[in-house]
């Protein structure tokens, strides 16, 4: 759903300009004080490269300094085959597991649990499965206008087919010239080849997802730019989490607010082992299988 609306925000935006009405102001409201909570940023993959889990504390919403890291914690990921992967404290809030040659942390079909012990509290994640991922067949470009109100521009697309069987969930992450596109508006998730609630099972990813690998905002693709696309397999809960992150963070403002959801907390799959403890955690743990592919834009190779 969240993906289906945005083009319409923009369209109503056009209506708005016609009527010369809306406006936005930055404001500085007073927010309630809150105690810091443990924030766990644990999205690890089966890539044979160092895997990092970041531990920090929540801070006041308008606090724009660096995060306060959680130090001296012990962090490990255990699978249901008896393996334990220890993540080593880097002294800056990052805890890293470094693979030996060609070693990977994850295998599809295996379950994993995250354990964190710090400041006398024990946190654990739900046991989650690493799901399989389809290959990225290719990345291509076309020259097109998104709507009749737009000019022609180069649009990248990735081609891949959802795995057979309902309920596969993916996070598609895109890199422009090696730089991860990480804006809230650039979150690109898929439920099968489409969206949750609808069964686009076993198809090639549908266009809004296929196209949502391009940089947003004023950035336009130029000659020699490269797009590299990774598909990360995620759990259904992680899909729901990212979907809510998208709802809560990707705000267009303006007329889009008429379609916006009210504020709500995003879920977590990490909890204190002691259910009575007031030290609770936020954030998410996922182990992804990753596939990837990319291409450089050569305008002369693009057919209209």
């Amino acid at each position: 759903m969240n993906k289906i609306n945005p083009p319409y925000y923009k369209f109503f935006g056009i209506a708005l300009i016609v009527f010369m009405l809306g406006c936005e102001d930055d404001i500085n409201p007073n927010l309630e004080e809150a105690l810091p909570l443990l924030a766990v940023d644990a999205w690890i993959t089966d890539k044979s490269e160092p895997q990092a889990i970041r531990l920090s504390f929540t801070r006041s919403y308008f606090e724009n300094s660096q995060t306060t890291p959680l130090l001296n914690a012990s962090v490990s990921v255990d699978d249901n085959l008896g393996n334990s992967f220890v993540f080593v404290d880097q002294g800056d809030g990052d805890y890293v597991w470094t693979p030996a040659n060609n070693q990977t942390l994850g295998v599809s079909g295996t379950s994993y649990t995250l354990s964190i012990s710090a400041e006398g509290e024990q946190y654990t994640s739900e046991q989650i499965m690493m799901n399989p991922v389809p290959l990225v067949d290719s990345v291509t470009y076309r020259l097109d206008a998104v709507t009749a109100f737009d000019d022609d521009e180069f649009i990248g697309e990735f081609w891949s087919r959802d795995l057979i069987g309902e309920g596969d969930t993916y996070w598609i992450r895109s890199f422009l010239n090696g730089q991860l596109l990480s804006l809230p508006s650039e979150i690109n998730i898929a439920f099968d080849a489409g969206f949750v609630g609808s069964s686009f099972d076993g198809l090639i990813f549908i266009p809004p997802i296929r196209d949502a690998i391009n940089p947003l905002g004023d950035l336009e693709l130029l000659e020699n730019d490269s797009l590299y696309v990774e598909i990360h397999s995620i759990t259904n809960d992680a899909y729901q989490f990212l979907s809510e992150v998208q709802t809560q963070t990707d705000r267009d403002g303006g007329f889009g607010e008429l379609f916006a959801s009210p504020f709500g907390n995003v879920p977590t799959n990490i909890s204190n082992v002691d259910p009575n403890s007031e030290a609770i955690a936020v954030g998410f743990f996922n182990v992804a299988a990753v596939s990837g592919n990319g291409r450089r834009l050569i305008a002369s190779e693009v057919s209209n």
């Binding site: 109503f12 016609v18 009405l21 801070r59 609808s198 198809l203 995003v266």
Partner: protein
């Protein structure tokens, strides 16, 4: 319950039968009261009999009937703003008499109102009800100069809205989907054009608007907060007439006239936005298939077959089109069709049979080629049959009874996706529901002081089987998505769940003296279909869903008490009302609810209870050059839903502590009239985060207390102004045949940037770590908006 019902029915029967005991012969005077100039029925005109210091009023079809013991009576026919007709009538036989009243002059001019304003505010048993005639609605300064029924009722006490652009309105703590909006008896599911900016009712075709907030009569049911009863004009039965105008947004034209003089008439009224036509030469997209327009067409015909039979056919069609190229876009609209037959079984027994069809749908289309596209539409269709009877027994008792059967067809999503040439149907199957009701009520004048209106409605709903899979959900952890525990199939139209409710309705008036009365009311209402909307404001994508084996019907109880007082010979009317409303099975949503194209939608819905209470103050000035009103509401509206706000009560998004509205109209003299209105309301409740944290470079706002609506956006206030210049009355020394006038208006005169919402978002991304955050206040209308319109009538 059963005993109470029996008791109740006995009371009704007793009060009916106990009346003709005296055995004196009585006769009935009946007929229609109409406007002399155009033959329109006058709704709520008074027929007053001096000798009994009492009388009756015309119903929504302009019909009246009064039965008196044989004798000579002095009968007055009165209607606000019209000349009174007084007659000596000898009741020696049954008399049929249609009366035409003259409005004594042309509207919008300084007219001498020969009839005294009525004191119905004080003397009628009706409470928590506001009537707005179209002439008043036309005077209220309107956004973009477009006269608007829904914006006008927002000037009344007890009515709130979340803000500009939000569809619908909120009455006494009710949600948008808890209002029954009727256009000539047919429900209109989405009452807005351009999201919530304009309403779907064409003012040229509207005759009368009545908002019932409490003391809801037994003949109405199906929604728990309010009834907005919009009646269309019948069409001029005397002569062919046209009116219309060119405004900032719409161009309008209405044609009405007799088909057979004084027997049959019609009205056809259309409106269309025309900015796309004007912009076409300058915006190439509009030449390449993009569309941006909205329009509606209202039609009605009526035919007086004979003295005892009359037929009405009315219909509405409206559409909003937003297409950003030939293939892609979004459109939505309502369609209604109503057929009504008024039949007099006798001079005392009036009946009306209504059959209607009402439909609301929206369509979305994405994708630029046939190989990659997504088409999606959603629909609710209703078929209804409704016989209603009124038995005018005597001046003391008026019994009404009737029944209603509604068949609902819900199509949550018809959706087909094509990806690289492969087609996938992802539709959510249709659902069906059957709602039925019977009711019996009496309007009784017990004495000169006491009047009662009491009734009982029995409603029933069956969730019907269809060729789809039905789900049963587990008992959930409050606030989280429910899991499907069982699936089952059902035959078409097999009954899956049944619900019924007894809905007692009661109102009373105690007249202290000629200018003071106290009124009290209680009503229970139930609602079997639910508007599903989790966004801040209601919008065209909201879908309706039936009560099912997992969703219970909503019910509400409302108690109200009020003091009504008129001053200076009804020159001023005032009221003070207090209400308390309790509701059950109100719908709320889990965080991250998927409401569109979701087969297991019921798993994302939560159910809770609501309470609302408030005081409403209303002072209206009816006479003189300066007229208008002040309305102030002090209110609280809260919900309690397990799994939200840690299970504690929280204010709804439409909770407004203070709500002040002032409307003023001033006849300057000459050709000018000035109008102004002022609105001041508490800010809409909202939730602010306390904290932030990061996930993969994205900054996420978080409320550590997990609270809902813990704060409010700033206060809303706005002043609007308009001036009407009437065209010259004389031309070359002769009275002009046609009328015209200009309206100049300014909405939001002092350009306040009224907040609609406040959102929290990050600025920049990973590359600028740490990512700065900001809070942004959005105003849907942040400027003053001047407008001019030209209107004509001939």
């Amino acid at each position: 319950m059963l005993l109470r019902t029996k008791l109740f029915l006995s009371v009704i029967l007793l009060s009916i039968t106990g009346l003709d005991l005296f055995g004196q012969q009585s006769f009935t005077l009946s007929g229609y009261v109409k406007d002399l100039s155009n033959g329109e029925d006058l709704i709520g005109a008074t027929i007053y009999v001096d000798e009994i210091s009492s009388g009756t009023i015309t119903n929504v079809y302009g019909f009246y009937s009064i039965t008196l013991i044989a004798g000579v009576y002095s009968v007055e026919y009165r209607y606000v703003g019209y000349e009174t007709i007084k007659q000596e009538i000898n009741f020696i036989e049954n008399i049929s008499q249609d009366i035409e009243l003259s409005d004594g002059g042309q509207e919008l001019q300084e007219v001498v109102i020969t009839a005294e304003p009525e004191d119905s505010n004080v003397s009628s048993v009706e409470m928590s009800t506001n009537n707005l005639d179209i002439k008043t609605i036309q005077k209220i300064p309107a956004f973009m100069g477009e006269v608007d029924v829904l914006k006008s009722i927002q000037m009344l006490p007890g009515v709130a809205t979340i803000g500009e652009g939000a569809s619908g309105f909120n009455v006494r703590g009710g949600s948008v989907g808890q209002n029954l909006v009727l256009l000539d008896e047919a429900p209109v599911y989405n009452s807005s054009h351009l999201l919530g900016i304009f309403s779907v009712f064409n003012p040229d075709a509207v005759k009368d608007v009545k908002l019932i907030k409490g003391g809801i009569p037994a003949r109405y049911g199906g929604r728990i907060a309010s009834i907005l009863d919009v009646r269309m004009k019948e069409g001029n039965s005397k002569k062919l007439a046209a009116q219309g105008g060119v405004g900032t947004i719409f161009s309008r034209l209405a044609i009405e006239g007799p088909l057979i003089k004084d027997k049959a008439s019609f009205i056809v009224a259309g409106r269309r936005s025309y900015i796309d036509w004007l912009a076409k030469p300058f915006v190439s997209a509009l030449r390449d298939g993009a569309r941006l327009n909205f329009y509606d067409l209202t039609m009605k015909m009526n035919y007086n077959i004979d003295e005892n039979n009359r037929v009405f056919v009315s219909s509405y069609f409206g559409r909003d089109n937003f297409k950003f190229d030939k293939e892609q876009g979004f459109d939505w609209g309502n369609q209604t069709a109503t057929v009504r037959w008024n039949h007099l079984f006798s001079k005392k027994l009036f009946s009306n049979f209504t059959a209607f069809y009402s439909n609301y749908d929206y369509k979305l289309a994405f994708g630029q080629t046939d190989d990659d596209q997504f088409d999606w539409d959603s629909k609710i269709t209703t078929y209804d049959f409704k016989p209603e009877f009124t038995y005018f027994i005597n001046p003391q008792n008026e019994i009404s009874f009737g029944a209603e059967v509604l068949l609902y067809n819900f199509q949550p999503a018809n959706a087909v996706g094509v990806s690289n040439g492969e087609v996938q149907d992802v539709s959510v199957d249709r659902r069906f529901g059957l709602e039925s009701a019977i009711y019996l009520a009496n309007d009784q004048k017990v004495s000169d002081q006491i009047s009662l209106q009491y009734g009982l409605r029995f409603s029933h709903f069956t969730y019907l089987g269809a060729p789809t899979t039905f789900f049963t959900f587990d008992d959930p952890t409050p606030g989280l998505r429910k899991e499907v525990v069982a699936e089952f199939e059902a035959d078409r139209f097999e009954s899956i769940s049944n619900y019924s409710n007894l809905e007692p309705r009661f109102s009373m008036k105690y007249q202290l003296n000629g200018t003071n009365s106290i009124k009290a009311s209680y009503n229970r209402t139930s609602q079997y279909i639910h508007l599903i909307s989790s966004t801040t404001a209601s919008n065209p994508l909201d879908v309706w869903t039936p009560s099912t084996n997992n969703i219970k019907p909503q019910t509400g109880d409302q108690y109200a008490i009020g003091w009504f007082r008129n001053f200076q010979n009804n020159g001023y009317e005032a009221s003070l009302e207090g209400y308390y409303r309790r509701t059950r099975n109100q719908i709320d949503y889990i965080d991250g609810a998927e409401l569109l194209i979701n087969e297991a939608l019921e798993g994302d819905l939560l159910s809770g209870k609501g309470r609302a209470y408030g005081a409403e103050f209303y002072l209206k000035k009816n006479k003189g050059r300066l007229t208008g009103w002040v309305s102030y509401t002090l209110a609280r509206t809260e919900l309690q839903v397990d799994g939200i706000n840690q299970g504690d009560w929280y204010p709804t998004k439409y909770d407004q502590t203070h709500n002040l509205k002032i409307a003023a109209f001033y006849e300057v003299g000459g050709r000018w009239t000035l109008s102004s209105n002022f609105t001041l309301t508490s800010g809409t409740p909202t939730t602010f985060p306390t904290s932030r944290f990061e996930q993969q470079g994205i900054t996420i706002p978080y409320n550590a207390g997990d609270s809902r609506n813990n704060t409010r956006i700033p206060v809303y206030h706005r002043l609007d102004f308009s001036a009407t210049l009437q065209g010259k009355e004389m031309k070359n020394g002769k009275k002009r045949k046609n009328e015209n006038y200009w309206v100049f208006s300014v909405y939001n005169l002092y350009s306040r940037r009224n907040p609609f919402s406040i959102y929290f978002a990050q600025e920049g991304d990973l590359r600028t770590e740490p990512v700065p955050t900001r809070a942004t206040q959005v105003s849907i209308i942040g400027n003053f908006v001047p407008a001019v319109s030209y209107n004509f009538k001939f």
